[in-house]
Symmetry: C3
Subunit: 206 residues, 3 copies
C-alpha cells in the first residue's frame, strides 16, 4: 500500500525532527542529535517488532527509515534556528505521523492475531514509544505521560481499528478511517487545548 508507506515516511521525518530538536535543547553534540532523531523516529516500531518476535525489526530490513532520519536530523542540526518557523507545520506533521504509526502498529498486531488490548497497545506503542525513549534519553519524565490528549488519541484509533476489523469493512478503509480519527482528535486537542483529567490532589499528600 503505497499511500501508507508515504505517510509512514512523512511521520518518520516529523518524529526525527522532534528528536533532533530535543537533542539540541539538551546541548548534545552532532552524534547525540542524530542518535536522538533516529531513536525517536524508529524506536516505537522497533519495540513493537521485538515484542511481536519479528526480528530483526523493520528498520534493519528497509534502511530507508535510517537514511531519512539521519538526513532530517542533520538538516535540523544545521538549520535549527529557522525551525522555529516550522513549529506549527511540524505539529501537524506529528499528528499525521501519529495516526499513521497507530494504524501500522495495530494493523501488524492483527496480522499476528493479537487480542484486543495487545493490538491497541501495539498501535499506541508504535506511535509513542519513540518519543518516550527521546525523553528518557534526555532525562525527562516522558511528555506523553503528562501532556494533553496525545497517547489517548492513539488509544482511540487503535481500538477503532480493532473493532472495524471485526466488521466486513475492507481493510484499507478501516486503516484510513482509524488514522483519520487519531489525526482529527490530535488536531482538535491542539486547537481546543483538550486534556485528560488528573487525579484530584488533596493537601498533605506529597
Amino acid at each position: 500500500m503505497n499511500l501508507l508507506y508515504s505517510l509512514d515516511l512523512l511521520g518518520t521525518a516529523a518524529f526525527a525532527a522532534s528528536g533532533a530538536l530535543a537533542g539540541i535543547r539538551r546541548d548534545m553534540d552532532l552524534f547525540g542529535v542524530l542518535m536522538l532523531g533516529m531513536v525517536t523516529a524508529t524506536g516505537g516500531g522497533t519495540l513493537r517488532d521485538l515484542l511481536l518476535g519479528d526480528t530483526p525489526p523493520f528498520i534493519f530490513k528497509d534502511e530507508t527509515y535510517f537514511y531519512l532520519s539521519i538526513f532530517v536530523s542533520l538538516a535540523v542540526f544545521l538549520f535549527h534556528h529557522r525551525v522555529g518557523l516550522l513549529q506549527l507545520p511540524l505539529l501537524y506533521l506529528d499528528a499525521l505521523g501519529l495516526g499513521t504509526f497507530v494504524v501500522i502498529g495495530t494493523g501488524k498486531a492483527l496480522d499476528f492475531h493479537m487480542g484486543f488490548i495487545g493490538s491497541v497497545m501495539m498501535g499506541v506503542m508504535t506511535a509513542t514509544a519513540g518519543g518516550m525513549m527521546r525523553d528518557i534519553l534526555s532525562s525527562q519524565v516522558p511528555l506523553v505521560l503528562q501532556k494533553e490528549v496525545y497517547a489517548s488519541a492513539c488509544l482511540a484509533g487503535g481500538a477503532l481499528l480493532y473493532l472495524l476489523h471485526l466488521t466486513p469493512l475492507p481493510a484499507p478503509w478501516a486503516l484510513i478511517i482509524s488514522a483519520l480519527a487519531v489525526i482529527v482528535l490530535r488536531v482538535c486537542a491542539i486547537h481546543f487545548n483538550w486534556s485528560l483529567p488528573k487525579a484530584p490532589r488533596n493537601s498533605g499528600h506529597n
Copy 2:
C-alpha cells in the same frame, strides 16, 4: 498450578497499584497513570520473555494481566486519597508479589535450561524490572538500586530455587519454599529496617 496463578494475579495487582501511585505523585494524567500501572505490573515478565526469546510475551497471550492492571490503576486513580490507609497492606501484598514473581521467573528460566546466574537473574528481573521501568519513566534513580533489602531478597530466593531444583525435592515444594524465603526476608527487612552495606565514602571523593 492454580495457587501460583492466583498469587501471580495478586502480585500483579499490588505492583499495578504501586505504579499508579507513582504516576499520580508525578502529576501524570489518566493515561499516564494507567500506563505506569501496567508497565510496573507487567514490565518484568515482558523483559524476561524477550530475553528468553519467548515472544510474544506472556501478557499478550493471557490478557487477564492487562485488564487487571488497568482496573487496579483506575481504582487507584479514582480513590487515591484513601490509598494511604492501605499503605501497610500494600507493602505486604508487594512482598507476596515479589516472592511469586521470583519463583515464576527463575522457574521459567530453568525450563529454558539457563545456567545458575542466568536463572537467578531471570527471577530478580521478573520481580524488579517493572519497578525499575516505573522509576525510569518517572525520571528517578530506581529505588531498587538504593533501597533496603529488596532485590537482594529476590536474589536469595532465585538462588535457593536453583539449588533446590538440583535436589530430588518435588518442584511445587521447591517453588513454595523459595517464594516463602523471599517473602519472609522482605517482611523482616521492612520490620527490622535491614539494609545492604554501601561503599564507605571518603572525603574528597565526589
Copy 3:
C-alpha cells in the same frame, strides 16, 4: 579467535568498573553497584542480540561475562577509594573495550547479513548501549550523547569494518584494523581533547 575473546573479557572488566563506580557515586547499595556494573558491561551486547533475534543473548550462553562483571564490581565496591589511582589505566582499558566491542558487534551483524547502517549501528550499540543504560539507571543524560569523540569513534570503526568486509582482505585483519582505528581515535580524543561540533545556539531559543 582467542585474541578477540581475551580482549572482549578485558573490555567487559573495564566497562563493569565504570558501571560500579557510577553506582557508588549515586550512593547505591551493594546490589545496586553489582547490578550497574553488570548492566554496563553486558547491556550493549544483550540489546544487539535482542535486535538480531539471537535469543537468549550471549551472556546467558557463556556465563563467564556475568562472573567477571560481578567480580570486578565487587572489587570496585570494596576498594573504590584506591580506584582513583587507576583512572588513567581505566580510560585506556575503556578505549580497548570500545574497539573490541565495535568489531564484535559489526562483525556479528555482517554474519546476519545486515545492511550498511544496520551493521554500523550494531557495532555502535554493542559498544555504547551499556553505558547509556548505566546513565539512564543513574537518572542522567547519557554521557555518550554529550561527550567528546566517543560514540563517533565507534561509528568510524564500524563503517570501516563494513567497507573492509567488501574487500578481499582476510576477516581477522579487517577486525584488527577496525578495532585499532577506534582505539587510536579514542585515545587521540582523550589526549587532544577532541569533540564534535554542537549546534550553534542563538539567544532567545530555549
